[in-house]
Symmetry: C2
């Protein structure tokens, strides 16, 4: 049997550690060069496969591939393109198989969230049907932490650490100025649908009075009166109030708070995020001076403060995916299985893509405190290990030394394929 | 001669390393306990002295004092209270001397920016006049980097490092998604009057095409047409455009861009900062999808990514201030004297407060590139060493272990003093 080549693609929003998964996969493939061929990566994700834009990773040095372990973002480019059902996107699925066939690709690794696992699952089905079976393995990734079965999703732990560290630091700042100046600090974090990232801010509060004093979750309908009372209470008791707000917070009518601020002079919806809306609401009602921050991409790109457990798990998921494929497993995804909370121990498991695809793991209700403004001990026990350990990148001239790969494309063998990007 | 006690206060906006200066001062005072008495710190800065709220730092353990070296914010509290001229604020100056007299304080250390150095200078004059001479020494601190004579201001190097690291990381993220998604990233940084902090973002761009592609300085009147052309050029050449914008950017009429966005539904001025204004302008004119971040306090509190040179200089300034006082120097401020750019070497100097007070060091014109959107090599040569080296705090449970002092107050000896805070 000839050695089959590998196709790997990064999908959706990138993270501080998705390249660590790529590193784990490629290094493991290189170690098994007697069994598998080259690793081709899709330029800008799955659309690279559709365009036959395949990056030949065998042209990258071992050193550069190893540097992926500490480089944030998607080194081969990612995209938000989602393949629909096989019926609706039949041409695309067939094109994928044609490209795989043309380049002797026998393995398809898709590194992404729920949608990507669904795509990987469908590719495994269509390959079979078209008489060109491809071993399809998903690699979990998403800062949203919403994949089922796995203990957590690589990428989340590092965002969580960034948020917890940042709110602690900024709150120290506010605490020291609060007597005569800013009393309110609002930090906006990602999480359109689920409060996992916002919850991570709660880890910074270790004892009564510690910041953050309030967390606003997308899961809890915003109650302005209760919220303002809680803010005022924090200021009166601790001298200041530090707040983590999820971008996805909605009011009782289900409308995003970020959109509730009205329109600007040009008639646009409020440009700012939810942080300035919440801050201004406090100022209007309680009169306290505020500051606010919107972390946006800084949080998911912050490789400089990545969680060691997260980096290790991301690498391990890439490695495990390759090993699963070598064992002949198809339509599966490696998972993190937690075996103990404290000390945190974990091992590699695997899940069927059929069970992962399109299942969204929400934050359990008992992770949010009764008043809706904080996390429970159960939540803390879950989150704590995910932010643990530091894994600093190398520095040069005061800056992290991240790798930019050559990303040379393989010669095309097929006619152009037109599709609606 | 009996041993005189020491008064130390933190002033103005705090930084990631102002406590390192406190640490240098207190540790040096403890080493010289044969010559000086206790170190009292003002609770919330100078207003602590006016209220006779003096923290007895001798009650803090050596270990906790040492932990100040890696703890951001102002451990004793800071304030933005500014004493006016001796004529206008005579009662306050006299009160300070009375408090110093009551607590046998012979040394006044004021850790802050230009205003604080001015206050320290005035206190040295009034003490003399009132027949209770106090040795007054300023300790430089400001993220704005606008003190004269000293090579740089402790606090600035760490913000600079945060900004350079953050824009590099977020730009890697955007670069990998730009093909099908976000093409524009705008990061807002501090700097109402001077572009030092924005300029620091420029260090991240080491070669043609590197991010950030554009820096908007308060020193350069915003030219929308030129700006948009530059944005479009970056997107066409590099696939995306990464922008660092100073909060203080103004248009040709001198109006802050942040205020140009109109009012919200309640008639308030635009809640957002300048980043969303700039991002929306690009969207409206060029149609590119954007993301933006406002770092706010995260940047000046980010002890987790502090510059090693900055931490060392902050500590050294506290230490040198104590040594200057022990040498009998009055109305002076220790400074950083650069003796070589590369390798960066520096030594301790000192300046007269009279020469420091109320002199603002602006960014030299030849630090900004000819088109007004970037930094020159001269600027890079100056900034590079300031962000160099890492100085990580200790971690516990995945979070930096910052110290919170006991901050016990000394018993009051004087009647209450009323003043307009």
């Amino acid at each position: 049997m000839s050695k089959k080549n590998i196709f790997y693609a990064q999908s959706g929003g990138v993270t501080a550690v998705i390249n660590a998964s790529a590193c784990g996969l490629i290094e493991t493939a290189r170690k098994n060069s007697d069994k598998v061929g080259k690793v081709y990566a899709g330029l800008n994700g799955i659309i690279g496969a559709l365009h036959e834009d395949l990056i030949d990773t065998s042209l990258e040095s071992d050193e550069d591939i190893h540097a992926l372990r500490h480089t944030p973002s998607g080194a081969f480019g990612s995209c938000r393109y989602k393949l629909k059902s096989i019926e609706e996107s039949k041409a695309q699925y067939e094109r994928l198989i044609e490209v795989f066939k043309a380049h002797d690709i026998g393995y398809f690794f898709y590194n992404g969230g729920g949608d990507s696992q669904d795509t990987a699952h469908k590719v495994s089905q269509i390959g079979e049907k078209m008489g060109y079976p491809v071993t399809c393995v998903g690699i979990p990734k998403t800062v949203d932490n919403d994949l089922p079965i796995t203990d957590n999703c690589p990428g989340f732990g590092s965002v969580a650490k960034y948020v917890a560290v940042s709110i602690r630091e900024a709150s120290f700042d506010v605490a020291s100025m609060a007597k005569t100046s800013t009393k309110i600090f609002v930090m906006e974090v990602m999480g359109r649908h689920a409060g996992w990232i916002a919850a991570a801010g709660g880890i910074a509060a270790e004892k009564e009075g510690d910041a953050p004093h309030i967390i606003l979750f997308p899961e809890v309908a915003f109650d302005q009166e209760k919220f303002l009372a809680k803010v005022d209470n924090a200021v009166k008791n601790y001298g200041y109030c530090s707040i983590v707000v999820s971008e996805g917070v909605r009011n009782a009518e289900g409308k995003f708070l970020a959109e509730a601020g009205g329109t600007d002079a040009f008639g646009h919806a409020q440009l700012g995020g939810v942080a300035p809306v919440v801050a201004q609401m406090i100022k209007d009602n309680l009169g306290y001076k505020y500051h606010w921050a919107v972390a946006d991409y800084l949080q998911r790109a912050a490789r400089h403060i990545a969680s060691k457990n997260d980096v290790e798990q991301a690498y391990a998921m890439g490695e495990a995916a390759m090993n699963l494929a070598l064992e002949g497993k198809n339509a599966v995804m490696p998972t993190v299985v937690r075996t103990s909370d404290n000390p945190y121990t974990w091992e590699i498991g695997s899940a069927n893509l059929a069970d992962v695809a399109n299942v969204e793991k929400m934050m359990p209700e008992d992770f949010i405190s009764e008043d809706g403004f904080g996390i429970t001990e159960k939540c803390r026990t879950y989150l704590q290990p995910l932010i643990s350990g530091e894994d600093y990148p190398p520095y040069e001239n005061g800056l992290p030394k991240y790798v930019v790969l050559k990303n040379q494309l393989v010669e095309k063998k097929l006619p152009t394929f037109d599709f609606d990007e």
